[in-house]
Amino acid sequence: MLSRTAENLYWMTRYLERAETIARLLSVGERTSLTPNIGGGYRNEWHSVLLSAGTAPDYTAKYGQVRERDVVTHLFFDEDNPSSVASCITRARENGRIVRTALTTQMWDALNAAFGELRELRRTERSKLPLGDLVEWTMRTTAMMRGTMSLTHLRNDGYDFLNLGYYVERTDATARLLDVKYYVLLPQVDLVGSGLDNYQWRTLLRSMSAHRAFAWAYGGEVTPAKIADFLILNRQSPRSLLASVEGSAQHLERLARGYGRTTGAQGKAREMAAELVEARIEDIQDEGLHEFLSRFILENGQLAQLIHEGYLNGDIR
């Protein structure tokens, strides 16, 4: 497969996953804004959403004060913001359009239809677009893409690059969400473990559509340790770091078998997965959650770099 084709497939799914992450953040913000003002309060909550999205400085530069409407504009519609849902969907579609013949008709239809709907949304008056609808639309769109892909795409190398895009991006997103939640939102040590903390942890679970799954898996009291375990080490949790890294590793193994050649990426993914399989949540707490997550984000970045060098940039010999 042409390296650039693989690159387009990989980035198409990365952008789709990213759009979904941003939509989840928006839903966290909305949920929080509906609940009583505790701790840092309402405005602070939207600010933390911006921090999680990684675009707080850009937001401040363009909009100044943090207001719900502007945050939604910035994170959903703003084309100047490369991570906005609109930007991500547009870029995903652009990547897909370039390699349209490597996608199935159903995938292209879903992607193209989403793009058309996005244009409709842009033309619609904002007062007729409740935030809930925007979030809902994004989740449906990305689910549709994912669904058509797993139902119709040939299980060839293209399929592996598509999945790698999803998993690499998801690993990054989960780690960042966890980290921001822990590190930025609650810097004061005495609040860790408090009622507020638990409440906000639950919101985090909710943003991952995982609060009910969590209740089933762990039951009883919600503790930060349990949530961290669920989102980092629990293989059953679909957005956990372990599940995501194992997803990357599995598709890299498939590529290695198909091509009869391994690159640095396989070793790296295996190593990352092995660490998570061995780890206990206490070890992570000993290292410090923030320190652990920072390191993990870095390692995932290295994995992305190795995938790039081994397959996507075409310099491989």
Partner: protein
């Protein structure tokens, strides 16, 4: 020289007096019996299909909706088997002569030495590529896809408007128009014997593979080189690549190392043998042509000229389809093939020549004036349709830079029934068939029919309100 302009009436391809011409017989009942609601439904169905497959069209610099569709008219344009046979012979003859000319002018230039074409017209031509002088491409083919624009003025009268030897576009419409007609009106295809066009991609691939370099000793790797997804013809590039089962590459996907060109794949470099490029000469290699081109492959021309890769069409092919050279194509046919031309040229006045210029300036209201290097229907004057001011401004332009313009009589383009708001009405059409030249010369029975949708309009370019039709050739 007056044959076109003097005739007020136009040849109608379907009706002859009160009768229907034979090739259109089947369509008479079909079109008469189609209820207006069904027609509307089918029309929107067709549009939805086109939009879904993404076959849209963007015109440079026109702005507006980049995803605009070229209007598709469902009324097919039909040729009888014997009509086509003659066209086919004429087109193939022309394609052979054009290639013989190209091989000749980049080698010994016999036709110039024999005084049959003025040396200056060839060698001072912008499209004459000094960088490939002396090089003979595999099988002596420069132009592998020759698009010949034809118009019809009578039952047996066809004129060649222009030749396209570089990278004629539009063939995806020929294929998609047929696909969509077959989906929407299967009955028509069951009841009539319509020659298929669907093997065009197979023939194109075979043609390209047949001109692989001699150095290539395995199954040749063929690729299509596109300027990128921002190009207005990107759809066509990706469609053809997909139909042929070859990679669609951009310049940065290829690199030159040693004696060959390689493409970057997820499994390492893969040697490329034949490049069907949809990119102008000026952009294909920044180390040979425009140094600022980011679309090409640095060093490509060196590999090409040392026989490591074949470029289709070959760099330099453009000198054969220049509007000034066009006048001499019948001469080429006589010179290289020793045959009489089967298809006629449109009489052409060169404004650079004093006598011609005077005639043109005196007869502007009845002539069509074109820029020598123009294309796409831009910079063109259609005398009979133009107002006084436009004619005046063209007269000025011609006096200013005569060598930039040629003029032709306004041809009485044939009409074909077309669905319009009021029902069915005659509209003017032209035809572009795509002739493939490799080890053999091939022509699929069909082409792209363009139709001027505005009543009375003679300009069929899609950028100027033209549409497209499916083109049928009836099997014997």
């Amino acid at each position: 020289m007056d044959e076109g302009s003097a005739q007020p009436r136009y040849f109608n391809e379907m009706f002859e007096g009160d009768g229907v011409r034979a090739p259109y017989a089947a369509l008479d009942g079909w079109s008469r019996e189609m209820p207006p609601e069904l027609r509307g439904m089918k029309q929107s169905e067709a549009e939805a299909l086109f939009r879904r497959i993404g076959i849209t069209f963007a015109v440079y610099g026109e702005g507006g909706d980049p995803d605009r569709l070229i209007p598709f008219d469902m009324f097919p344009r039909v040729f009888a088997a014997d009509e086509w046979l003659r066209l086919e012979r004429g087109i193939k003859q022309r394609a052979r002569a054009l290639n013989a000319f190209l091989v000749d002018v980049y080698k010994r230039g016999e036709i110039v030495r024999a005084g049959r074409i003025p040396a200056k017209l060839v060698y001072c031509n912008e499209a004459f590529e000094a960088a490939v002088v002396g090089f003979r491409p595999p099988r002596g083919v420069y132009s592998h896809v020759v698009g010949i624009d034809l118009v019809r003025t009578g039952p047996d009268e066809f004129f060649v408007l222009e030749d396209n030897c570089r990278t004629p576009s539009g063939v995806s419409y020929m294929l998609e128009n047929r696909e969509i007609m077959m989906r929407m009106f299967p009955q028509l295809f069951r009841e009539n014997r319509i020659a298929p066009v669907e093997n065009y991609p197979t023939l194109l691939r075979r043609t390209l593979a047949s001109v692989a370099p001699i150095k290539c000793d395995a199954e040749p790797t063929v690729v299509i080189l596109t300027p990128g997804h921002f190009n207005s013809a990107y759809y066509e590039h990706s469609f053809l690549a997909d139909m042929m089962g070859v990679e669609l590459v951009e310049g940065t996907d290829l690199f030159v190392e040693g004696d060959f060109v390689w493409m970057r794949t997820t499994q390492g470099p893969k040697k490329v043998d034949v490049i069907y490029r949809r990119l102008d000469d000026a952009f294909i290699d920044p180390l040979c042509f425009r140094p600022d081109s980011m679309l090409g492959v640095p060093g490509l021309m060196n590999v090409y000229r040392s026989g490591g890769v074949t470029i289709c069409s070959a760099p330099g092919a453009g000198v054969a389809d220049d509007k000034a050279i066009y006048t001499f194509v019948p001469e080429m046919i006589r010179f290289y093939l020793g045959e009489e031309p089967i298809l006629r040229n449109v009489p052409t006045w060169q404004c650079a020549k004093a006598d011609d210029r005077q005639y043109v300036l005196e007869h502007l209201p009845e002539l069509v004036v074109k820029e020598v290097h123009g294309s796409g229907g831009y910079g063109m004057l259609v005398g009979p349709k133009a107002d006084k001011a436009t004619i005046e401004s063209f007269a000025h332009l011609i006096r200013e830079r005569p060598e930039n313009y040629i003029a032709q009589p306004t041809l009485a383009l044939s009409t074909c029934p077309t669905f319009v708001d009021e029902g069915i009405a005659p509209r003017h059409v032209d035809l572009r068939p795509y002739c493939l030249v490799g080890e053999t010369v091939e022509l699929v029975p069909g082409g792209l029919t363009r139709v001027a949708l505005k009543e009375g309009s003679l300009v069929v370019n899609s950028s100027q309100g033209g549409g497209v039709k499916d083109t049928w050739v009836m099997a014997d």
